[in-house]
């Protein structure tokens, strides 16, 4: 035994390697699992339970082996440190791209967007969505304004990586202007934003536009809608630093430059996040709750929530953009200080845009098609007699969103 030990000592590589994989494995399996990663801004995989179903599953992503491997990867001891090591190695290789994000100049990051998504039935999803919107506006002629916001790579062009082959959004904007012209007003804020290109219009580490970018687009919208757009003039926004957004969460670049997020606490209103839109459902829940058949927690899950426009708790996390409108809820109703009613059908780009509307409208209804349940857009329009309807999307999400077909749900198409 002693001889054996002596012999092994002659090969330090063996000792080191086995000690490393053995001790690290033991330590890795003993450390408690994390629920989510703040660094990556996502939930981490948890230990899967072994079942007959997932052992015999045919689909790769449903197999126990797959789930277990995801779990091992996500809960790997020192995950954040390893990620930072990779990020440094990438910069040694002078890479300008990591995990679908391009590195531009001065710490500016861009979402990789080289090709348009293909639709399930062939063609591009963008063409499908243009047709979805066309059918929608044809049913409501004169009521709708469509604003498609260009991506950062179309506006902040001086910081782009060399010769990056981004999708050219301009011809598509021109096409949409033509297709939507008859029944709606199409608003393309590209020129407006380019006019302020040296200002802080898009975040460096997040795929959204800044509140300032949204403000310039709002001025354009207000002009088209005949509103006085006096809301933010003269107001001073509150600024919060240390914002590392979604693009950062993908790249986890070790030397990323944090962003500054601003918002107007003065532009606020009472917002009701409506969980159940179907009247019969609401009545049933209310009855059950009043009869004591429903727990406080269960009721809170489905009852309306009344909140402010800003979830300031989110300002202490990395992903600060989530503070606007409490994220993406299916249907919310906001009380404003202006006149008339507006319906906004939107993606997350609208979350920092909507506060500007509070000065101009008395009621702002906000629909996110991705989680709208219990009603249809047409039904909402019929019930509420809106003065304006605004479809507001970023070009990239408009070209990949598969929910726009819901615009026409219940319309007989």
């Amino acid at each position: 035994m002693k001889n054996k030990l002596k012999a092994i000592l002659k090969y330090p590589a063996i000792l080191l390697f086995f000690a490393f994989i053995l001790l690290y494995s033991v330590a890795d399996s003993m450390v408690n699992d994390r629920r989510e990663s703040e660094l990556e801004n996502r939930k981490l995989a948890q230990k899967p339970a072994m079942t007959v179903k997932n052992l015999l599953a045919a689909k790769e992503t449903e197999k126990f082996s797959y789930l277990y491997e995801q779990y091992i990867n996500d809960q790997f001891l020192g995950r954040d440190g390893w990620i930072s090591l990779k990020s440094r190695a990438e910069s040694v290789l002078l890479k300008t791209e990591n995990n679908g994000v391009l590195y531009g100049k001065d710490g500016t990051m861009y979402q990789k967007f080289f090709v348009l998504d293909t639709a399930a039935g062939g063609g591009t999803q963008l063409e499908t969505n243009i047709e979805n919107v066309r059918q929608f506006i044809a049913r409501h002629p004169g009521l709708v304004k469509v604003m498609i916001v260009p991506s950062a790579d179309m506006v902040v062009t001086d910081k782009l990586p060399l010769a990056a082959p981004f999708v050219d959004e301009a011809p598509w904007m021109a096409q949409m202007a033509q297709v939507f012209a008859g029944d709606a007003v199409f608003l393309d804020p590209t020129q407006t934003l380019r006019g302020h290109a040296d200002e802080y219009l898009f975040y460096r580490t997040d795929h959204h536009w800044t509140t300032l970018g949204a403000y310039y687009a709002y001025l354009q919208y207000a002009g088209a809608a005949g509103r006085d757009a006096a809301s933010a003039a003269g107001l001073v926004p509150t600024q919060v630093g240390d914002f590392l957004g979604t693009l950062y969460s993908k790249t986890k670049l070790y030397n990323a430059q944090a962003d500054l997020l601003s918002y107007y606490p003065q532009l606020d209103g009472q917002m009701t996040i409506v969980q159940l839109l179907d009247k019969a459902d609401r009545d049933a829940v209310q009855q059950a709750y009043e009869a004591g058949q429903m727990s406080e927690e269960a009721y809170a899950q489905v009852a309306d929530r009344v909140v402010d426009l800003y979830e300031t708790d989110k300002l202490s996390t990395r992903d600060k953009y989530a503070m606007f409108l409490y994220g993406n809820n299916g249907f919310s109703r906001i009380e404003g200080e202006g006149k008339g009613k507006v319906l906004v059908i939107k993606d997350s780009y609208a979350n920092c845009f909507v506060p500007f509307l509070t000065a101009d409208y008395a009621q702002i209804d906000v629909v996110d098609l991705r989680s709208l349940k219990g009603t249809t857009v047409d039904a909402l329009i019929a019930e509420n007699s809106y003065d304006d309807v605004l479809v507001l999307y970023n070009f990239q999400s408009f070209s990949s969103d598969t929910n726009l077909v819901l615009l026409n749900r219940g319309s007989g198409n």
Partner: protein, 462 residues
């Protein structure tokens, strides 16, 4: 399970090695057999019976061959059975749908496709196992009576799913050594090889390979001519580091277990002819075809026309082995033509040149990978090749050259003999230097595995 995964390195490997090293000498093969079966069944339990049938079938057939001794005709009949059994299994899982869909296209029928999932590594282990039974037929190997020993050879986890194609006779003697099978020096060397292979796969192949994925995403018909070439060069490097990295890891793991697997790659891109390339690329596969197809067909001993025909057969099969698709058949035929031309007159001339044979060989190797990489139909091959050879605009290569430039240069450098010489020098010079190098490669590789979005194994499809 893939070698280049956290699950393998930080769960499977420590446990498997502990079980193997701690097992008493006469139970080593049983231990190896069981941990390998677990390794094989991990990703897909449902193909366990296929593996079991493969082991049992060949075990029984070989025993039968052994008992038939001198009865030539009976032995021939069993030989036919051996080939039908093994090739039949491979054919059923891998090629049924290819033939059905071509039959449908040809006759206008609509026979439904079977849509079977390819059992992991079936192309490799059917060839390995068949080599054993064929050698028993030839009389060069004695039939194995212990099914555990034979099973341990077939499912031995390092070489099971992507080669090298280890012949039974390569490891048979070692399987019978119960005590002192592995040495510390061997384990030490094996660790080094495993880490270097991991680095080849994770740091080089994955880093470079993302470029070819970009080309596929952009569409073959929208890239400019320079970008098409850049992408093809990237694929050339990716497939080499991917596959040879896997083989190196396998050889290293083999050494840790006390087995010497044959080399599978020997710097293929420094070849001066296509003939030489195939002596350096996937050597165990070309060796297999040479031993079990080319030579039984008569090799070069029956005159030139027959030799050319034999080459044709071997290369059609080699192409088809790589995948049930027309482009792989085309790729095999392409190499048949090149090798035949070299055999007929070019090889002697190549031997006399200095620089141009390198350029010639590299050009045809890279173009060959074009046929290999575009596996989505003849239309796409035509589109991509027209981009390669008919200069035209499209998505510029500039961005991609900038992004992948350093990785590509490192990849090219690592295709030359220099890194290997450097490692050999470091091993001699100081153990500390070697350990530091290996530690760096291991740690950075683990970092890439933790944050990986792209970690495929090209040869897993085969």
């Amino acid at each position: 399970m893939v070698f280049s995964s956290l699950l393998f390195i930080f769960r499977f490997l420590p446990i498997a090695l502990a079980v193997y090293y701690l097992a008493p000498p006469r139970l080593k093969n049983l231990a190896l057999f069981l941990i390998s079966l677990f390794f094989y069944s991990w990703g897909e339990v449902r193909y366990f019976p296929v593996m079991a049938a493969c082991i049992l079938g060949n075990y029984l057939l070989a025993l039968w061959l052994g008992r038939l001794q001198d009865r030539r005709r009976a032995r021939r009949a069993v030989l036919v059975l051996v080939v039908v059994f093994n090739i039949g299994m491979l054919f059923f899982f891998k090629y049924s749908d290819f033939f059905i869909s071509n039959l449908n296209a040809l006759l206008g029928t609509s026979i439904p496709l079977l849509r079977l999932t390819l059992p992991l590594g079936i192309s490799f282990y059917t060839f390995q196992t068949m080599s054993y039974t064929l050698d028993v037929y030839k009389g060069t190997v004695q039939p194995e009576r212990n099914i555990i020993d034979l099973g341990a050879y077939v499912v031995m986890f390092p070489q099971l799913i992507a080669g090298p194609i280890v012949l039974y006779k390569d490891v048979a003697a070692q399987l019978k050594v119960k005590k002192g099978r592995y040495t510390l020096a061997g384990i030490n060397e094996g660790i080094g090889l495993f880490i270097l292979g991991l680095g080849k796969k994770v740091l080089l192949a994955n880093n470079i390979g993302a470029l070819w994925e970009d080309i596929k995403l952009l569409g073959y018909s929208s890239v400019s001519t320079p970008l098409a070439w850049l992408g093809l060069v990237a694929f050339t490097l990716q497939i080499y580091f991917d596959f040879s990295g896997y083989s190196t890891m396998a050889i290293g793991l083999g050494k840790m277990l006390g087995f010497n697997f044959p080399e599978n790659f020997n710097l293929p891109y420094i070849s001066r002819s296509i003939t030489e390339f195939w002596r350096r690329w996937h050597m165990t596969l070309s060796g297999w075809f040479r031993e079990y197809v080319y030579i039984p067909l008569g090799g070069n001993r029956r005159g030139l026309p027959r030799q050319i025909f034999n080459l044709f057969v071997v290369w059609t099969l080699t192409g088809f082995w790589h995948g049930a698709n027309w482009n792989f058949l085309l790729w095999g035929f392409y190499y048949f033509v090149l090798l035949a031309v070299e055999k007929l007159f070019l090889y002697d001339k190549l031997q006399r040149g200095r620089v141009w044979p390198h350029l010639y060989a590299l050009f045809f190797i890279v173009v060959g990978w074009g046929l290999f990489a575009v596996d989505s139909g003849m239309g796409d091959i035509a589109a991509f090749f027209s981009r390669l050879f008919w200069p035209q605009g499209g998505v510029s290569a500039l961005y991609f050259a900038r992004n992948y430039g350093v990785a590509l240069l490192v990849g090219m450098l690592c295709s030359t003999p220099w890194p290997r010489r450097f490692y050999a020098w470091a091993c001699k010079k100081s153990e500390l230097l070697r350990i530091l190098m290996l530690a760096a490669v291991l740690l950075v590789s683990v970092a890439y595995l933790v944050d990986s979005t792209y970690n495929p194994f090209i040869y897993f499809r085969f």
